[in-house]
Subunit: 340 residues, 2 copies
């Protein structure tokens, strides 16, 4: 079994496996060249091209896992909300969901009919990887999907989402119910198509107070995770979650993804036994000289020392301005410094 899969199961590995969120992204010249000719959605809808992007990054970087080339909002597009990737890839939702009526009007979509190209990409990427490294599938968690749907795009404070959440809890729960069913079906489709691990991105959940998370988010995230095909490890990820870790664990997941704003050792102690941890280098660290990158990677490995189930990663995606050679230096450093 590959070290990445072993680590997901908290089994001993010869070294700490590493992959990076957005490892096939804009910081890669090959990817930028491809994107100069084609839009993001167009690329996602072409399973051959998307599978190639998925696989190329692995060869270029020497990482221990591939991740499906897609986006967490893709699955919302068939709902008719007017999803577009404009302004430097920032997603825009032309017809945001703001009221109880908007929620009721949202159609139930079947991912297999709505985004068949994602499953096709998974099949082709899995075949092209040929067992070299495992393939990760992913989806947005109900809170993060709802936040985008309500705001109509990214936001710093997610105030419109919070206003619905606290002002119309009935509409909020109806929306998250719908999104939880969709997400479980979407991930199960990816699993059927060949992904070996899934990551649930609750990217922006860290904007919430713990009490709000417990009451208005946790049950829906748990429903997604409990609805997944058994035997496939689940990585449950968010950013800014230093105050939510115990609750995220309660919601589920074999591995909890940390960002960089929490000490990995303390976070793991709080999470308790029986769970792995992914993270947790600041993506900004990759802008520093390689010697400093190595120093920070070593510090994180030391914080994880002696525990089974650490997957090295950044605390969020690779920044577009990151030099490729710094990413490669990180991957090499993690492999070398963690070899047991």
């Amino acid at each position: 079994m590959h070290p990445f899969l072993k680590a997901c199961r908290r089994e001993p590995t010869a070294f700490t496996p590493v992959w990076l969120m957005r490892q096939a992204g804009r910081y890669l010249p090959e990817y930028r060249a491809l994107r100069a000719r084609r839009g993001f959605l167009e690329l996602c809808r072409d399973p051959d091209a998307a599978a190639e992007v998925t696989v190329t990054a692995v060869g270029r970087l020497g990482v221990d896992a591939a991740i499906l080339f897609a986006d967490i909002l893709l699955v919302l597009e068939p709902m008719g909300v007017g999803l577009e990737y404009s302004r430097g890839d920032g997603p825009v939702i032309q017809r945001p969901v703001r009221t109880a009526e908007d929620v009721a009007r949202l159609p139930e979509v079947l991912p297999e009919e709505a985004v068949p190209f994602v499953f096709e990409t998974a099949k082709r990427a899995r075949a092209a990887l040929d067992g070299k490294v495992p393939l990760i599938g992913f989806a947005g968690a109900p809170f993060t999907l709802a936040a985008y749907l309500i705001e109509g795009g990214g936001s710093r404070d997610w105030l419109r989402a919070k206003r619905l959440m606290h002002g119309e809890p009935g509409a909020w729960h109806a929306l998250l119910d719908k999104l939880a069913r969709l997400t479980a079906r979407y991930l199960n489709g990816q699993i059927a198509a060949g992904v070996e691990v899934v990551q649930l991105f609750d990217t922006w959940v860290g904007c919430l107070a713990p009490a709000a998370y417990r009451e208005l988010v946790l049950p829906h995230t748990r429903a997604v995770i409990q609805g997944l095909a058994p035997g496939v490890p689940v990585i449950h990820f968010g950013t800014g979650t230093a105050g939510l870790l115990e609750l995220m664990r309660e919601a589920g997941g074999d591995v909890i993804g940390l960002d960089w704003r929490v000490d990995l050792g303390e976070a793991w102690a709080r999470l308790g036994p029986g769970v792995g941890v992914q993270g947790n280098l600041d993506p900004a660290a990759l802008l520093a000289p390689p010697a400093e990158i190595r120093r920070q990677a070593r510090a994180i490995l030391e914080r994880a020392a002696g525990r089974l189930g650490h997957i090295f990663n950044l605390g969020h995606g690779v920044l577009p301005e990151t030099p490729v050679e710094h990413v490669i230096a990180l991957v090499e450093a993690v492999h070398e410094l963690s070899r047991r």
Copy 2:
């Protein structure tokens, strides 16, 4: 002694004192009317007007403390970096500090010569308050000041600041040394002018990894706090700090200011005995109906129950779109629900 000062000293109070960051801000119609006629800097430079803004909010809301009307970046203006408050009050620094040479060129400024109007505002506000409620002074902490100086304004990721921090630690420490000396002198000047408590705003420090905070920030924040006139309580505040609380306490402060992304009870347990806590309602909660505001205030008071030294506040400033009557409802709810 007023309940707010007692709480800062962890002495018993008849009810939990409450004040709100940005309680004299854009959500107040009186303030918007004033600002329609005058720029922000102009207002700060007029001690009579600034003192009036400070005092008016207290009467309007019934809060237990006044806070000096000013801004954390004011003290940087005399450094010649081209500070402006344009674009809806967002600060802009025309000549950011990006290199070791820029840092070396920054002049040492004497607050008493550079921003005498702040001290004059403090004197007049203290006199106008006439002992009704205590007056809080404040300053930006070295990290947050440096982050604005380097970025040239606000930022989501503070990447330029992190790049200097990790790439040129010598220049970084030189900058923070300079800012720490300035900040201690500035706060001591406010204390001499009559403020009774000071709050150190390390507003954006939550963007950092704990290891980076310990090495590159903590010594400078500690230098500020240790340099202050004895006997004046210090509130040490930041946002997104759920992963930094123990280190912030190590840096100093009689009261640690929490944002809303951490459970108050757990945070206090982690901070340990001998320290007060300020917070921690999500400012977005004030957009919800008053019954929901009351419910959330009660939940926070319950988390603080039985411990001395809780000051109720939001986790960050009042949002401009907040209805004034919701703020008043919160203050009344805190007073009523906490009465012992």
